[in-house]
Subunit: 517 residues, 2 copies
């Protein structure tokens, strides 16, 4: 058995049976193996950024890794931004980077470059297979490393001759490491803070935004008067009917500081202490108010759900009190705007939807109007590197073929990895994409003032506008094989959205709206 | 003066007056400075890969750097593949990577990552500005490093607070280092090989593919019987009427080995010793035949033109013998194919054209049919990382606004950085793009067999096809604001090409052709 086949069979044995791929010459043996190992599904992408983001979206929904197949240093570079986002999501991803044959590297051929240094940006686990005999075991080790907990991007560098040489051995399935139980002392410390009756908040992130954790957090809140907040950009939050509404910490540091004002205790549950997204002249980076103690209930490798449930039991939170209903908005009428779109989505979001949210400034109204929708998952831009939303939607749709996926995309962000639309069409995935087309990098207009670049004139503002020429997303979508519409009113948008949800396969709706900034 | 303004003014003082940019928050002060320093032209890109490739194309045509403005580690990642190609082109590029404020990095905000490790993949010169007072001098040092010779990618990391703080100082203009004169001993050794009457070839690359060097090489060839060859993927070759035709070393190692067979002396002029692009089982990586001595006449920092001219004078090559005319093909008729397209281009290429060639397998017929065209420059995919052609065309058009630019694009490659079309439309650049739409990664079909992955079946081949769904490049181009056509015959193609050359602004022609593989 050649190394590539041992590697693919080892991945499958450990539960990794999807590979998002942009293969090139050095990966041909991996590709050729797909016929011998039909359990492995190959999903082709036209650009590595689509493939890596898809692996992230897949992992967030399945809680297990997909593989992503990349070509040498430049291919890893193309996929790096969405691996960065995956790293911030703590999503398990196995990145396999094809390299030149071991003996060929000395010749410094055109595609030769230092892959390891690039990988270091996103991976603490990096291994280079050196013999076909090791390829299977290395693949299994990569899966184990990716799974953690917490999840991470594990990078396995695979030389072409390791792929094509005989001697490959299939590795046994990887045993998943369970999450660690939070120590009793930690629970006691946190319980004391919660009992103090001083102003206290639980800040939930990561796994603590799945339903059981949110329910337990609200039992604690009811018993103690603590507030419950969510991190600003959750990898995956379970929301909707029957699940208590968790306010997210605002992106704008000024607003987040208001949410945290007066706190004496901040309890972190699978998240980090809140900091400003960027630095701004004269404003603090650390958002924790003076005099507030920060304690960690559960880190990324800990069992946050069990910790919250045990706290809830101890603090006497009522186990089964009903969650008050949050009303859904009516279908909107009138002008198409960020607000009327959010109303339409809130009114029409189907049961079990997966929302990939990269609406940026245009998404301001979404959390409130979707809180009363049927149960759904909300996936955010975790690492701040735009171009994540469409690939994550692609991967989520591959992970959950029976669930409708809604990608909410700012126009500027969508253009980073628009090639994802083609993979959605190729795989006939049930993804509805809404483009919030305000024709500018609206967030940068806002940021220009926030960083104090107030003297800026026309030439600076031009660099923040993506018009002229106006981008025609309907044409772009059709070019990639995705049917698309451009409604001109809120009613028209609602009609198109309803149709897109009802029909199988991908759809795109371009909503031309005024910018909020 | 704030650091950002000192930096921009220092770039301008040293001759860097174009910046290709994808700015985000940490670069807002740089952007705001564009109004204060109108000498700096900002060209907006929708994706960093378009910006970095454009800086490469600009540098190849102007022999001086443009700046490219990138956003933190992920932005550098997005631009990395085309910086890799620029590195292989030895193009001078100043990459400015905005970073978080110095004091903000400790908080590990979502966009925080290790920028330096990523930069190391493409840059040996990496500097981080730490005070506003240094920003101007650091910018000048980056320009000096980028210029070399040889040219390189210099990476300057610019923290947001260094940008926005007062105290900036404008650096004096950088003095360019001249290329080194080749030593007399080296000239003597090479002259001896050329006089040996044993089979000898000059392999030209880099600056040695500009006209004066090619003319001198041919005088040497006439005087000594030596062959003249060009490296496989030149950054910029001057070609066409009046310039001797130089055969390029073939991409396929098997064919290149045939071109080099029987050589006793191989003389490298601003290029590297030839190696196989990839490794293939059982085939040599080093293409130099046994018993052939390799000598270096000029390296990347040397004055290759003077060295060749001095050798030509010494060896008695006739200085002014006429170059024989190479015939131009007739305009083609009949079926649209890689061959008929090459004929049309050969027949119609305008005087002074700049050709950015990423046609890959579909480009097989281009060198022969364009050899007799009026003078033009030919820019190749230097580093093997696809997605270079459109950005390089964009940059070349910014560099040379009075010259027509022709981008020849394989469909699969074009899709990596298609956003470049929008920047062409925005800047109304005179770029004609031809898409060779064979709807597959044809080169990979060929490579699958070459690497010995012969057992591959249907599922493997599907991973090399970019259809279904069929990509509609006419729709995609229009979506980005570029008028486009899809002719159905060779005559129609020639008509559309002629019109595109005649009209100002960008055009795209999608040529649906049978694949050669």
């Amino acid at each position: 058995m050649i190394g590539a086949e041992a590697l693919v069979r080892s991945l499958v044995a450990s539960g990794v049976d999807v590979v998002f791929a942009n293969p090139v010459t050095s990966e041909m043996h991996f590709v050729a193996t797909l016929d011998a190992v039909p359990e492995m599904r190959g999903v082709l992408a036209l650009f590595e950024g689509a493939a890596t983001g898809a692996a992230d979206g897949y992992a967030r929904m399945r809680d297990r890794p997909a593989a992503v197949l990349l070509h040498l240093g430049p291919g890893l570079g193309n996929g790096l931004a969405n691996l960065h986002n995956a790293r911030r999501a703590r999503a398990p991803v196995v990145a396999i980077v094809g390299d030149h044959a071991t003996y060929h590297k000395q010749f410094d051929a055109p595609l030769e470059s230092d892959i390891d240094t690039v990988a270091r940006n996103v991976s603490t686990w990096i291994r280079r297979s050196v013999r076909a005999e090791d390829a299977g075991a290395d693949a299994a080790a990569a899966v184990a490393a990716a799974c953690g907990p917490p999840g991470q991007v594990a990078t396995l560098i695979l030389p072409a001759d390791v792929s094509w040489s005989e001697g490959g051995l299939v590795a046994p399935p990887v045993q998943r490491t369970p999450r660690a139980t939070v120590r009793a002392e930690t629970l006691d410390e946190v319980a004391a803070a919660l009992r103090s009756r001083e102003k206290t908040a639980l800040l939930l992130g990561g796994r603590a935004l799945r339903e059981p954790a949110v329910q337990a957090a609200y039992r604690i809140a009811r018993a103690t008067g603590a507030e419950v907040l969510a991190e600003t950009f959750p990898a995956r939050a379970e929301r909707g009917a029957g699940i208590p509404v968790v306010q997210r910490l605002a992106y704008l540091a000024e607003m987040a500081a208001g949410q945290l004002d007066g706190l004496r205790h901040l309890i972190l549950v699978d998240t980090k202490s809140p900091v400003s997204f960027f630095a701004y002249p004269g404003k603090p980076s650390d958002l924790v108010p003076d005099g507030c103690d920060v304690s960690v209930l559960a880190g990324g490798g800990d069992d946050a759900v069990a910790a919250l449930e045990s706290l809830a039991a101890e603090l006497g939170g009522e186990p089964q009190s009903a969650v008050p209903d949050t009303p859904r908005p009516e279908k909107p009428s009138g002008e198409l705007s960020a607000e009327s779109i959010a109303r339409a989505i809130g009114a029409l979001l189907p049961e079990g939807a997966i929302v990939s949210d990269e609406a940026n400034t245009s998404g301001t109204f979404l959390p409130a109007f979707t809180a009363g929708a049927p149960r759904h998952d909300w996936l955010s831009l975790t690492g701040g590197s735009i171009g994540q939303g469409l690939p994550v939607a692609l991967g989520a749709a591959v992970a959950c073929p029976d669930r409708p996926v809604l990608a909410l995309e700012a126009d500027g962000s969508a253009l980073y990895t628009l090639q994802s639309l083609w993979s959605m069409a190729r795989e006939q995935l049930d993804v509805t994409t809404v483009i919030f087309s305000n024709r500018r990098y609206a967030i940068l207009r806002m940021e220009l003032a926030r960083v104090g670049a107030t003297a800026s004139g026309e030439r600076a503002l031009e660099m923040l506008d993506i018009s002229p020429p106006e981008i025609d997303f309907v044409a772009l979508a059709r070019g990639f094989g995705v049917p698309a519409t451009r409604p001109e009113s809120a009613e028209g948008f609602a009609t198109d959205l309803q149709r897109a949800f009802a029909e199988p396969g991908p759809h795109l709706i371009e909503a031309v709206i005024p910018s909020l900034f």
